[in-house]
């Protein structure tokens, strides 16, 4: 019975309307499975297309894997394809990001969950989740405007394009993710552990160390791995500040440090550059680029899947017996409190600083005229067309992703055996963690080149679908798992078939969660830049709404910011870029607030960012 008590209280699902006689509720609802399996197939199809693109690419020319992994010379003209310098760049940038973000992120999470009163912690937590959803292009813009000059001063180097700048940008980007996931892990530790520890007379620092952290460790580690996956897969924000210099590999230990403030190259920035376009669609050059893609995909997949696996946290290790000295207990406790609350200041300062910069520089966005007039020339006028383009892409993506993601979620949640469901879930997570630059390149080769679509808004929307589907599917599956067993039992006792059960019980119960998932996924898709620059958007001249389907490009906010930020020397381009960034953040925040409203209305409070 004690177990029953621990079940979180469920908010009642939306009322299922009473079936009126003759409404067709008795029908077999066979469409349900066709629809649900299309969903799960779409996940598999995405993976197949992605792997197919990479594998056929590799097969179209011979890849010298040894050279790709161990040589640092990348020179397509001489058919030398060595990727070691890029792998090194990716590794350094990610390590830097983790070194900077993890200690602060963890300490801030502990402060949020263990030190602050709930009244203060709740809004702070919400703002950090908002930060986690800020589009990476905005971080890139901040990187080029603020962090690049900062590194130039710090390292006393000209320019400031460097691995360090990229690492800082990524650290700022992933810190909210780490905090959000860690706070959830800490909040999941039952209060009785803390109570027991306090009743033994431990200080707060000792309670956290010996009672709370051992329980939350797996979840906190998962947050780090998710952050790592995001850092590894990020292309555009890094592209803007890293300098993209090839073949840079330190030869001595001293070099390692002096190279930090020097330009470099990572796997993603190589793929985001012009080379995939110049390499054609076959031959050794293309094969080598696909080889880089495979390396990147493998690294990200390992981090994502490992991170998500860890969070299920099956076996909690017994806490090691620790004998802490009684020496200076109270001062130590005070010092830790001070440090942890201090760590919380950093994400707080980040939030305030970012909002401040956006509002101060992007003030144009607060003027409605900016929203509703078309742009003139490269950087004049408003951004009506870009907003419309982004909305068109989002609406199309939503229309495609909602049924597919919902179906996939239903299959994962209801049909599969425990084992199959775990496999499917892992695959879905892997799709969700795919670096979006790879999605863009696969879409470019598939739609724009092979199918001859040219730049097309539909190609852009389709490429964004795999970003949204996993979020929808995983939220739906999670909600189905949380369904009270009584509902299922009652449905089965009434003799409902499987499809009737899904139609009349599962769907009415889960749709709020599904919609929440959809909005979260769209918030992420709204800020994606990398997939769009290859498939859907142009620099100039796209009409506000496209007139056809193929060869009908659009303009979108993230790519607009990307183009403008490259010319950050011109004042009007800057103003336009910041204004567009603020509009994009507002759109994302709007989608998120809707999601929060839905979640609070229909579900118990649950985590909604990853």
């Amino acid at each position: 019975m004690g177990l029953t008590l621990e079940r979180p209280t469920q908010a009642p699902g939306p009322a299922v309307p009473r079936p009126s006689p003759g409404s067709g509720r008795g029908s077999r609802a066979r469409w349900v499975w066709g629809w649900a399996y299309s969903g799960i197939l779409s996940v598999l199809l995405t993976l197949t297309v992605l792997l197919g693109y990479l594998v056929t690419g590799i097969a179209s020319g011979t890849v010298d894997w040894t050279a790709l992994l161990t040589s640092s010379t990348w020179s397509p003209g001489n058919l030398a394809f060595g990727g070691l310098a890029m792998i090194y760049g990716s590794a350094v940038v990610c390590v830097l990001a983790l070194v900077l973000a993890v200690p602060v992120g963890w300490a801030a999470a502990v402060a949020l969950s263990e030190y602050l009163p709930p009244r203060l912690a709740k809004p702070l937590r919400l703002s950090i989740e908002l930060l986690a959803a800020v589009p990476s292009i905005v971080y890139g813009l901040i990187g080029i405007m603020v962090i690049r000059p900062f590194v130039a001063d710090l390292g006393d180097v000209p320019g400031g394009d460097s691995l360090l700048a990229a690492g800082i940008v990524l650290a700022v980007m992933i810190m909210p993710t780490i905090v959000a996931v860690s706070v959830d892990a800490l909040a999941a530790v039952p209060g009785r552990y803390r109570e027991a520890a306090y009743s033994l007379g431990l200080t707060r620092r000792e309670v956290v160390r010996s009672a709370v952290l051992p329980q939350a460790r797996t979840g906190m580690r998962a947050g780090v791995l998710l952050g790592l996956a995001r850092a590894l897969g990020e292309a555009i924000a890094v592209f803007m500040v890293i300098g993209r210099a090839d073949d840079r590999l330190p030869e001595s230990l001293g070099d390692v440090f002096s190279f930090l403030v020097r330009p470099g190259q990572t796997l993603t920035t190589k793929l985001a550059g012009p080379e995939p376009m110049l390499a054609g669609t076959s031959g050794p050059y293309f094969a080598a680029l696909c080889g880089l893609g495979v390396i990147l995909l493998a690294l990200v997949a390992v981090a994502t899947v490992w991170g998500t696996r860890g969070s299920t946290g099956r076996a909690v290790r017994a806490p090691r017996a620790r004998r802490s000295s009684a020496w200076l207990r109270t001062p130590k406790d005070r010092l830790t409190t001070f440090a942890r609350l201090g760590a919380l200041l950093l994400p707080g300062a980040l939030l305030v600083g970012m909002l401040g910069i956006l509002l101060a520089r992007g003030g144009a966005a607060l003027n409605p005229v900016f929203w509703f007039t078309a742009s003139e020339g490269a950087a004049g006028g408003g951004i009506r067309d870009q907003i419309l383009g982004t909305l068109l892409l989002l609406a199309t993506t939503a229309l495609i992703a909602l049924p597919l993601g919902y179906g996939a979620g239903v299959v994962i949640g209801t049909r599969a055996s425990a084992k199959a469901s775990r496999v499917l879930e892992t695959l879905t997570v892997a799709v969700g963690g795919t670096p979006t630059i790879l999605l863009g390149l696969a879409g470019y080769v598939l739609f724009c080149t092979t199918m001859g679509w040219g730049r097309s808004w539909l190609a852009g929307a389709v490429v964004l679908v795999p970003v949204v589907i996993p979020v929808v599917a995983l939220t739906t599956a999670g909600r189905i798992r949380g369904m009270p067993a009584e509902i299922t039992e009652a449905a089965l006792a009434l003799g409902l078939t499987g499809s009737q059960y899904v139609r009349s019980v599962v769907i009415p119960y889960t749709w709020p969660a599904t919609l929440t998932g959809l909005l979260l996924g769209l918030a992420r898709a709204a800020g994606e830049t990398a997939p769009l620059i290859f498939t859907a958007t142009v620099f100039f001249g796209a009409p506000a709404l496209p007139t056809g389907i193929v060869n009908a490009p659009v303009q979108a906010l993230p790519t607009h910011i990307f183009t403008l930020s490259q010319d950050s020397g011109a004042p009007e381009a800057i103003a336009q870029a910041w204004g567009s960034a603020l509009v994009l953040v507002l759109i994302t925040a709007g989608l998120l607030s809707l999601a929060v409203l839905l979640r609070n209305r229909f579900e118990g409070a649950r985590r909604w960012t990853t």
């Binding site: 177990l3 000209p158 012009p274 376009m277 490269a378 001859g452 142009v538 100039f540 009409p543």
Partner: protein
């Protein structure tokens, strides 16, 4: 509780998971998906009459202005710059766009790479690529560079401006990424027909893409040098196009061909331009369209004696 719900779910799965129906539904699902996909592809054939141009960031400003002017006449033209000149040529070769904007002449390599494409270049004007340095360096004594000095700078052999008569300041080289027309012009100037060597392993070396990005990085980096279309530094007094072998990139020198790094600007089509693409190119060639070139610091066909 958790035990109970797991049991129930398993029962539900058993109840609903009849093999036959499952495979049938998988089949119908794949049918649905493929139908949806072919449906998309089918309707995609409908197409639109928009002209798509893509390529060089040097040609893009002129192309955009012309497109803007033709919008009033009901022509729908889009301009993209992903990948630069070579990107535009390869997209034209694969049939993704109608017009490639190029700031470099077509090479035999390009024609060989896309044997099915009948590349027809139309020269719309010309511009000069400058070796751009900052005003600080120019004022410090760098009044001109020889070909050998330029080669030394871009190969990373000259690392301080005092080696070429300038201030005591480290050199920071921004080179264009592969496939950019600007870079090919510089290589041709330095190496003639020979191959350019691999980029230097110097620490003060980074890669830039489009012209705007190049200008931005030049302006924000002390002691920097980069190849850039001279049209892009007009109105930017902190940047200087340095004379090469004693020849400054003035209008007269560029038009007479005395300045070594002059290059033609092209719009390239697959076959003779026709339809909306022809209207577009004709407009750029018309007196009205040619007026756009000097606005961006380029030379008209007339000035080049065409």
């Amino acid at each position: 509780m958790s035990f109970l719900s797991a049991e129930t779910r398993k029962r539900a799965a058993r109840l609903t998971g009849r093999r036959v129906r499952r495979s049938a539904s998988v089949a119908s699902a794949s049918l649905l998906l493929s139908a949806a996909l072919t449906g998309c592809a089918g309707s995609a054939k409908a197409g639109s009459d928009a002209v798509q141009a893509s390529g060089s960031t040097t040609v893009a400003p002129v192309a955009s202005d012309a497109a803007e002017a033709l919008k009033a006449k009901g022509l729908n033209i889009t301009v993209a710059t992903q990948g630069g000149s070579a990107g535009g040529i390869s997209q034209l070769g694969t049939g993704q766009i109608d017009i490639a904007l190029s700031s470099k002449p077509l090479s035999e390599k390009d024609r060989k790479a896309y044997p099915d494409t009948d590349f027809v270049p139309t020269q719309i004007g010309a511009d000069a690529v400058g070796v751009i340095i900052t005003k600080e360096v120019a004022d410090g004594g760098v009044k001109g560079l020889s070909k050998a000095q330029v080669a030394g700078l871009f190969e990373g052999r000259i690392t301080n401006w005092k080696e070429v008569g300038g201030p005591d300041l480290p050199v920071f080289v921004y080179d264009k990424e592969p496939g950019r027309g600007t870079r090919e012009v510089l290589d041709k100037f330095i190496y003639g027909k020979g191959e350019a060597p691999a980029p230097p392993k110097s620490a003060n070396y980074a890669i830039v893409g489009g012209n705007l990005e190049t200008r931005n990085k030049l302006k924000s980096t002390r002691g920097s040098i980069a190849p850039l279309s001279t049209g892009f530094i007009e109105g930017h007094p902190d940047l200087v196009a340095v004379p090469l072998d004693g020849v400054a990139p003035t209008l007269a020198n560029v038009a007479s061909g005395k300045y070594p790094m002059t290059r033609p600007l092209f719009m390239i089509t697959n076959g003779k331009p026709k339809g909306a693409a022809k209207q577009y190119i004709d407009y750029v060639l018309s007196p009205e369209g040619q007026k756009l070139l000097p606005e961006h610091g380029y030379l008209t066909r007339e000035q080049m004696g065409l």
